[in-house]
Every structure is written in C-alpha cells, then in structure tokens.
C-alpha cells in the first residue's frame, strides 16, 4: 500500500475520521473515567468506533490514545500503563483499518506548561517518546500530534516521534480568531509561525483541529498556504460551536454543511479532511462523498 504522503503527492484528497471523545461519551463513558482505559476494559466499544469511521469512508483512523501520556494517566493512577494502553489503542484501530486503511496514532498535549517550569523539555520529550514508541509497536503508520497550543511542546512531540519511530509525523494546532483576519492559538502562535517551525522540525503534514467550527478553517488553510505551498495540510474541524440545550450539548453543523465546507477547504489547499468534537460517522460519510467526487 502506498503511503499517505505518496497518495497526497499524487494529487489525491484523503479523508480522516471524526470525533472520539464525544463518541465515547455517547457510548457511555462517564465523567471522571479515563477514556484510554477503555482500550483494555471495553475494547469492543473502542473497535466499533474505529470501525464505524472506516465504514463511513475514512481513509485513515486515529487511535484512542489522545490523553495516554504519563502525565495525564497519572491522574487516574495509570502512569505505568502508558505502553500497554497506547499499544492496545493502535492494535484496535489496526483491526478496524485492516491493510487497506491507515492508522494514525493520536498524541494530545501533556497539560504541563514548560513556561511555568511544570516540567522540563527533557522530561516532556521522554514522555512523548514513551507514547509514540508504544503506538508504533501497536502498528501505527503515522503519529498525529494534535490540539497543540504551545509551539515548544509541539516541537518536542514532533522530535520525539521523528527520532524514535519510523512513522510519518503529522501535527495540528488549535486556533481561535483573535482579530479580523487573524488567528492565534491560546499561547499566541499564528498559523504562519506554526508552519515554519513545524516544517523546520521535520513534520510531514501540518494543520489545524478543534476550534470554532469549519468555516474559520478555510481562512486558516489560506494562511498556511500563504507561506508554504507544498506541505500537506490536515484539517479536522469541530461540528460548529457547541450549544447547550435541555441538559445536553449539541453541535450545530450538520453533515451536509460540513461537506460543503470540505469543498472550500479543498479549494483553499487542504489535503486531508476529517472532523473533531461533535462530528460523527455521518459527517465523515458526507465529507467522503464530496471528496470522492473531487478525486474522480
């Protein structure tokens, strides 16, 4: 099977999966429960999530490992389970993906601030290394470092994945609109700065995820493309802005709406399109429909 990068180079637009966190919750994940522990306690539920995205038409599936770093697992007393939970996460997604789809290992932020000396760069690098090594062992094709806001943390994760695995390394950051035609992460990183620093560090694909819905994402892609015309771009938007109603959170963007935005994202220069919070297999199916039209 040719790699994600080869297929993008050949001009193909690819589709990734949608949300995991909100999906796990819909399946009964309780408040205060460790989502990644489900990899060992309820592997069938995790597998069914992965499978539903593959069935919806995703070319690649993430792993249930977003918060499976030593710092975050320590909160549940699971800091010794880093290897096991990540390897299992990858194995489950591989089972769903088979040999015709890609598995991308999800790596989220540590929740520690380098700036406040809550950890050291060396320790953070070690924590990321431990996670990515286990993900590769479980069979990931690529590592996706996602929802990053601090560029220094993102760079440490990219380096950890580059230097300790043979996987392709993707990295997405989460931006908010801070002024007219201006986007920044919470830590003040602009899309332009992100591209420059991540590409210099060896990231194979960059992009944006989460945030305030898919409309903003088109502008973010344009910003990325304004300073780099070659680097493949991955976009995973939330299904709009969450709305609270009758004790439940709902996401406003319908699968059809997100599919329309997907076209705009492609026109702006995105290469892989998927979803983040609030997106479902239905969203991914609609996006995949549009993308297939484009690829043909």
């Amino acid at each position: 099977m040719s790699s994600i990068l080869d297929r993008i180079k050949a001009g193909e637009i690819l589709v990734s999966d949608g949300a995991w966190g909100t999906f796990l919750q819909a399946k009964g994940l309780k408040t205060g429960e460790c989502p990644e522990y489900w990899n060992v306690s309820q592997p069938d539920d995790v597998l069914s999530i992965a499978q539903s995205y593959i069935d919806a038409g995703a070319d690649m599936i993430e792993t249930n490992s977003f918060g499976a770093n030593k710092f975050k697992l320590a909160h549940y007393g699971l800091e010794r389970e880093v290897y096991n939970l990540n390897k299992t996460a990858a194995e489950i997604s591989r089972k769903a993906a088979g040999s015709n789809h890609f598995v991308i290992g999800s790596v989220g932020s540590t929740g520690k601030l380098l700036l406040m000396e809550e950890t050291t760069p060396a320790e953070m690098y070690a924590v990321f290394s431990e996670q990515v090594i286990a993900l590769e062992k479980g069979g990931t094709d690529a590592i996706l470092i996602e929802t990053m806001t601090d560029i220094e943390e993102a760079l440490l994760a990219v380096r950890a994945a580059k230097e300790n695995t043979r996987c392709d390394v993707f990295c997405t950051m989460t931006f908010e609109k801070t002024a007219v035609d201006e986007f920044n992460t919470m830590m003040g990183v602009s899309p332009e700065e992100m591209v420059k620093r991540l590409v210099d560090a060896g990231a194979d694909i960059v992009g944006a995820n989460c945030g305030n819905g898919s409309e903003d994402m088109t502008d973010i892609v344009k910003k990325i493309r304004s300073c780099n015309s070659n680097i493949p771009v991955l976009i995973q938007a939330n299904a709009g802005i969450p709305v609270y109603h009758d004790g439940k959170i709902r996401y406003g963007e319908t699968p059809e709406q997100m599919a329309v935005v997907a076209e705009k994202l492609i026109a702006a220069g995105a290469n892989i399109i998927g979803g983040c919070c609030g997106t479902t297999p239905l969203h991914i199916a609609k996006i995949a429909e549009r993308v297939r039209l484009y690829n043909h």
Partner: protein, 222 residues
C-alpha cells in the same frame, strides 16, 4: 527615579519577576517585582498601597491587553508569576490583618475536567486584584466545592471547564451550590462556555476572560 509603585506595576505588566530573571529582555538586569516590593515595604509604604497602586494597577493593564488579544497566555503567566513573587512579601500583612483583601474567591475546574490553564489564569488575575483565592484545582467534585464554601461565608465561586463533555457537570455543581447556599454568587468561564449556557444553568455571571471576572467581582468589594 520613577515612583516605586509605578515601577512595581511595570514589573507586573511585563512579567519581570526579579533581578536575575532574563524575561523580558528589555528589563534585563533591572530589579523585579521581588526586590521592588521588599524595597517599598522598607521605605514604609503599606501593604495596601503596594497591592492597590502596584499589583492591581499592573494586573489591570495585563488583563486589558489579554482581553484585547494583544498578549497571550505566556505573557500573562509571566505577569502572574511576577505578581505572586511580590505578593509573598505582603502575606504577613494579610495574616496579621494589617492589610485587607476584598473577599474570598473559591475556584476550580469542574468534575471530570483535567484542564486548568484557563482556571489558573483567572485565579492569578483575581488574586492580583486583591482577592484571597482558594484554588481547589482540577476535576473538582461538587461536594468539594460545597465543603469549602461552608468555611467561607460570603465567598464567591468560580467554575471552569474546557471540554464540551464536562461543561454539563457545571450545571449540576451550580444547582447543588445554589440550593445549599441560597444567595451565593457563581461565575463561570472556559472555552466552550457562553452567556446563553450560563443563563440556562443559573450561573450569575459569564466571564469570557479573566479581566471580566475581576470587573464583576469588584462589584462585591467595598
């Protein structure tokens, strides 16, 4: 030489912790909040004056710039760090009662949510505005909030959530606190939280950023 209180405010505004701190480069080698607060006390200024004309002034400017997206979390954290360093020197005066704080503010990230950067920023800004802040940390269960509120009659509570999956827990915490402590004021903030949500769950004030929280709280202090 500039007025020492103005200098302290400047150190807070730009996050100059102490003389040895390399940040910000423009103030390299100059005394920071640490040394200047000590010096101000030696010069006979009261803790109240230092708090009000130094710290609060500086933090107000930081809060305003953050609100306007002119600075981001890192700059604000450095300012808070500078303020905390200076505040250490004032603590004995708060303890002895010689200097007074505006009230007690209890803050925490709601149950199930492990994110605390936003909560910490709010806590630091509010402490810098002269409130005694009790930070309960992250993943704080409703019972923990209730237990703490019991000890501080008249306190104000702040709830934070980063995830859409945990903001619903805010609703249950609010309903329990409002029932057990009639009249208690609760403010809330966090990325997915908005005014509409706050109205629906009975929160008294939606704080889109720390500065707005401070402005709201100041209505309760004399």
């Amino acid at each position: 030489m500039e007025n020492i209180l103005d200098q302290i405010a400047l150190c807070i505004e730009y996050g100059k912790i102490n003389e040895a701190a390399p940040y910000p480069p423009e103030l390299k080698g100059k005394p920071g909040a640490d040394e200047l607060t000590k010096l101000a006390l030696q010069q006979g200024l009261s803790a109240d004056e230092i708090l009000n004309s130094g710290f609060i002034n500086g933090m107000n400017r930081v809060g305003k710039k953050f609100s306007e997206h002119k600075i981001f979390v890192p700059q604000m954290l450095m300012s808070a760090k500078a303020m905390n360093t200076g505040m250490e020197h004032l603590k004995p005066f708060f303890k002895s009662g010689e200097a007074k704080r505006k009230g007690v503010f209890i803050i925490g990230t709601v149950a199930g949510d492990l994110h605390e950067i936003g909560k910490n920023l709010a806590a630091m800004m509010i402490a810098g505005s002269g409130w005694e802040v009790i930070d309960l940390g992250k993943d704080v269960k409703t019972e923990k909030f209730a237990e703490t509120v019991k000890y501080y009659p008249g306190c104000v509570v702040g709830l934070s959530a980063l995830l859409t999956t945990t903001m619903v827990n805010m609703a249950s915490t609010v309903s329990v606190l409002k029932k057990e402590f009639p009249g208690i004021k609760i403010l809330a903030g966090g990325a997915p939280v908005n005014n509409d949500f706050c109205l629906q769950i009975g929160v008294d004030f939606y704080a889109p950023d720390p500065q707005k929280a401070v402005q709201y709280l100041n209505k309760f202090s004399d």
